[in-house]
């Protein structure tokens, strides 16, 4: 008898009942965005243009990248109208 180990249905159905799959994309980047809170005018451009939508609001003062998933593309830094975000090489952060 065939099992239901991999699929719970007769056909190739996937249901999102189980927790979603998630890749450790944070491990892909070679540089990360660092936000200068003083320069940030809280306009949210970085948040809307982030392809992964992981520039997260911090209270309502500024935004910060969720480093678990940020791939270090640099769009936020490029789009920030106040140059409040700079991309720093991951090498600087190696403990």
């Amino acid at each position: 008898m065939s099992s239901n180990h991999y699929f719970k249905h007769e056909g190739p159905w996937s249901d999102a009942g189980d927790p979603l799959m998630c890749t450790d994309t944070g491990d892909w980047r070679t540089k990360r965005p660092v936000v200068d809170k003083d320069k940030c005018i809280f306009c949210g451009f970085c948040a809307i243009y982030c392809p992964i939508q992981v520039m997260e609001m911090q209270a309502d003062t500024h935004f910060e990248a969720n480093l678990d998933f940020c791939k270090g593309c640099g769009i936020c830094a490029k789009e920030c109208p106040k140059d409040a975000i700079t991309m720093i090489s991951e090498g600087e952060f190696v403990s």
């Binding site: 065939s2 099992s3 180990h5 991999y6 699929f7 007769e10 056909g11 190739p12 996937s14």
Partner: protein, 407 residues
């Protein structure tokens, strides 16, 4: 001459019309229609029913067969009952979707009007299109006459949508010889068909793609997941053999027409030689058998009604102990000398206790399988059984092929 059934139910119609009426009676939600000779009348009739309101379905006049199959696949996976029809080049043009339907276990019902394919342009009858797609993972049924076309369409829905099966079903019948042949057909009452199909409503509902239900279909099968799905598919195909027998008995009880399930055995009980055939040729074979029987020839016919899954258990049971068997193929198996069904049956030869098999190729490209052709096949099968030297493969209507052969 008194009439046996209520006169209003018998109508003289073509095979194509019978397919369209069968589809109408099954009340599909979505029908995809694209024309191709010799299938065109099927979708013309459905379009007429739709225009007159006789058929309350979504009719999609698609731009090509590939889209026909893709449209009904999606509608089926969304939970709907669907129908489409095609033939030869159209069937192979939609082949990627045909495979996807089987992989997704979408219970699509389709009619394929057999026509020569592939490779040489031929607008003529032959089962090569069926052979070219026989391993798609669909259930294949084959009709002999216009009545059986209609009946098989109805049986196809009970088989396809059965909760234990959930597999697409293709009903094949010979283009030209059947699609254009008109004969009396008993058109069942809608209520009777509804009753026959209502059994499905009492079964659990199949998984369906529904907005907002956090459920998706068409996923990647990865390693064990892929193998699991394929194993479920293979076992469902095997289950469909017995299921088809049950449906045939139930159908006979309701509509009064028993067909015999996977096979129809015609006068085989006391026969020591048998022809194996499928489709419209079987009508001619049966009439020649009756003639030969009067001359003392103990000859019978095994008619294949379910071609996929291959009914080998039933074939072995029917042919065991016969001295000689002639398999009539209306198609070719490239890479083998003999015909496709002959070659597949050969795989079970050792289970037949010494029965000898020979292959006849006839009826391709609209060639007529005449009574004399059938008589010749019977005589050669007789000679085979009597130990005479008979070629393994004979192209009955193309003597040039039988270089070693006589005449």
């Amino acid at each position: 001459m008194n009439t046996t059934t209520a006169p209003s139910r018998i109508k003289v119609i073509t095979g194509n019309a019978a397919a369209a009426i069968g589809a109408k009676l099954a009340r599909p939600d979505v029908v995809a229609a694209y024309p191709i000779t010799p299938q065109t009348e099927v979708i013309e009739q459905i379009s007429t029913f739709h225009a007159s309101g006789e058929m309350d379905c979504e009719l999609i006049t698609v731009e090509g067969e590939n889209s026909a199959m893709n449209a009904v696949m999606a509608a089926s996976l969304a939970g709907g009952r669907v129908f489409t029809a095609s033939s030869s080049w159209g069937l192979v043009f939609m082949y990627d979707a045909v495979l996807a339907v089987a992989g997704a276990r979408a219970p699509v019902v389709m009619v394929n009007v057999n026509r020569e394919t592939p490779g040489i342009i031929a607008v003529s009858s032959g089962q090569q299109d069926m052979i070219s797609t026989r391993d798609a993972g669909w259930i294949f049924l084959i009709a002999e006459d216009c009545q059986e076309v209609l009946d098989l369409v109805l049986q196809a829905y009970r088989l396809a949508e059965d909760h234990d099966i959930q597999l697409p079903v293709m009903v094949h019948y010979d283009g030209f010889f059947l699609s254009y042949l008109s004969e009396g057909v008993d058109i069942p009452e809608q209520e009777t068909v509804d009753r026959f199909l209502s059994v499905l409503d009492d079964q659990p509902r199949r998984t369906a793609l529904t907005p907002g239900q956090k459920l998706g279909v068409g996923s990647h099968g990865i390693l064990g997941g892929y193998m699991e799905l394929r194993h479920k598919h293979v076992t469902a195909m095997e289950r469909s053999k017995d299921k088809f027998e049950e449906i045939d008995k139930e159908f006979a009880g309701i509509f009064g027409r028993p067909y015999g399930g996977q096979l129809e055995e015609y006068r085989t009980d006391d026969a020591d030689i048998v022809l194996v055939g499928s489709g419209s040729m079987c009508g001619t074979i049966k009439s020649v058998i009756d003639d030969q029987r009067e001359k003392g020839m103990r000859i019978g016919l095994v008619k294949i009604r379910m071609y996929r899954p291959f009914p080998h258990q039933a074939l072995v049971a029917a042919l065991k102990g016969k001295k000689g068997v002639g398999v009539v193929d209306r198609s070719l198996a490239f890479g083998f000398e003999g015909g496709p069904i002959y070659t597949e049956l050969k795989a079970f030869e050792t289970r037949l206790d010494g029965t000898q098999l020979i292959s006849f190729i006839d009826g391709i490209a609209n060639t007529d399988i005449t009574k004399t052709n059938v008589e010749k096949m019977i005589q050669m099968t007789r000679d085979l059984a009597d130990g005479k030297d008979v070629p393994e493969v004979t192209w009955v209507s193309y003597p040039e092929a039988n270089t070693k052969g006589e005449k």
